[in-house]
Symmetry: C2
Subunit: 338 residues, 2 copies
Amino acid sequence: MADDGDEAAKRPVTIYDVARAAGVAPSTVSRAFARPGRVNADTAARIRQVAAELGYRANPMAQALSTSRTKMIALMISDVTNPFYSELIRGAQLAASEAEYTVLLADARESDVVERLSLERVLPAVEGIVIGSSRMSDSSLRVIAKQKPTIVLNRDVAGLPSVVTDNPRGVRRAVEHLGELGHQQITYVAGPEASWADGARWRALREAGHELELHTRRVGPVPPTVVGGRGVVEKLLDNLPTAVLAYNDLVAIGLMRGLAAAGIDVPRDVSVIGFDNIMAAELVTPGLTTVAAPLRTMGVTAVKNLQAIINGALHRSEAAFVLPTRLVQRESTARARR
Amino acid sequence: MADDGDEAAKRPVTIYDVARAAGVAPSTVSRAFARPGRVNADTAARIRQVAAELGYRANPMAQALSTSRTKMIALMISDVTNPFYSELIRGAQLAASEAEYTVLLADARESDVVERLSLERVLPAVEGIVIGSSRMSDSSLRVIAKQKPTIVLNRDVAGLPSVVTDNPRGVRRAVEHLGELGHQQITYVAGPEASWADGARWRALREAGHELELHTRRVGPVPPTVVGGRGVVEKLLDNLPTAVLAYNDLVAIGLMRGLAAAGIDVPRDVSVIGFDNIMAAELVTPGLTTVAAPLRTMGVTAVKNLQAIINGALHRSEAAFVLPTRLVQRESTARARR
DNA sequence: CAACTCGTGGCAACGGGTTGCCACTCCCCC
DNA sequence: GGGGGAGTGGCAACCCGTTGCCACGAGTTG
């Protein structure tokens, strides 16, 4: 008998219990918490007191049901295992919990089908959605956005608010950097064609190259992973570039490993620049020069603005937030070989 | 006017709408979905038909309120930015969505206070909790576990079900490996003292060292990060070991970088072994030899068992699931210098 | 033919808060 | 003394499914 400390999972305390114990109506208890000022200060204090003693905790489901505010937002990302998202998730969490929101993480596992399905599943439970690097079509995204406030991340969908990095400026800085090192030609290793960032980066590269009078070339697309980067090396070998801009850090790292395996030295023979500045960029040898994205800030910005939309402070279709990038110079870039 | 395509955020369709359209009672609609077989097959078919036409979607909050099954579980982890969790999260997601559950990711940000607070916040909304590498005390964990089904991960709390890796065997393999390479002494770089895994690993190391007649030593504790690992190098310099076992891969990587900076070659001068086999372990140079944990499987196992508890198929206090580890040999270990 | 069982659908209460509206008390002011 | 208003608290409806219980008709059984 003494063993069974379960105490019979007693039902949680409700406002009715509190009301009875405090000698007021349930509605008054409700207001004491939800509408401070609406009830007499003394009464409210007493109610809080009693509530604390009883261990009252509002039932979020009940709250959500009557107010239709679930205090939850969804964060949909294309692949949880991609380190790109680590800091971003943290930023989102930070901003969300500051507003007392909970984030519901959904993982598309690289598949637009999974993405749509999970979205469908979580949609009714959340007040808004942040969709990172979606694999879905613009029109599917608009369908979603019609149902709940939505912000897209790392993508630009006409009519939907978005948070993106300043790819043009970032690419520009990378190109300038390579130009200063004497490179005359830059090869871009492309990522997924469905990726908006990919298009933006290649376009920016072409423009910057044009202006600064550097020749540009494009290979790929490759999967946005280490393996993808490694696989492209072979295509580079017959006409070895002196400088490569890779779709993202993972591709850049894969590329560096592939080059090393082929006996080509980075940065002496080839300079490599990535995008994102994930943690691994600092850990590899040589350290990867990369166009850093403000990962955490992206998460924070997305959630804050989503909240603004939810609260009606921002119109749904407004604004693209462009966050600054910055070139982090490490050891993967050097003077062009001659 | 034409601009405003909002169509006045029409309230979602409820069972009442469906009931009216199908000419039945709301309860029948409810049963058509929740209790197939309880209503006539023809009626049910018609209801489904109508529901589909109207685009009916059950309101999860209302469902949760009356059944007190929210179809959500919480996954609490000590630090989202730690790559250790990436695959684990994916595994948890996988297992959860298979059972039509949604996972609510909570991040303790390395703080037991944040951990407790987030736990409090999500507790009422979920049916169960997986707590990874908790920073909280055993007793706090038991308090939580008393309120909702709980599984701890990477930790062993008396009376609570847990999922852990087979540290003794993993350490044993690592020690054997080092022994074969001629090392006679192994230094352990300790992680957080609050970490159960840390204790388990050090203990296992001592035992294995004793059996295999290798001398063991312990330095630290250090924060379980790259910076932490890097910082410990200085303490190692006066009495440079030939072999180091680090608390986890991040520490091992930091250590390797620190050693390299001090002009010490890994693996020629010092062999290094980590734990977990995070992605970066493969990317660094030299590649890190490590005791691999079945990251994804851990996530899956934890969630599956949590579900078993929720469904009453498993008693709360039962069982510790011990998952196998395996030694991944890369380039950070070599014959002992003489 | 009475008594019973099944199959099926409806009624109404319930879960736990929220909120519009009304009632009552006090106070103030003319 | 009467009208007006501010401050408080309660009543009851509502959010949207779920489910215990009952009713009704059809089919079965003795």
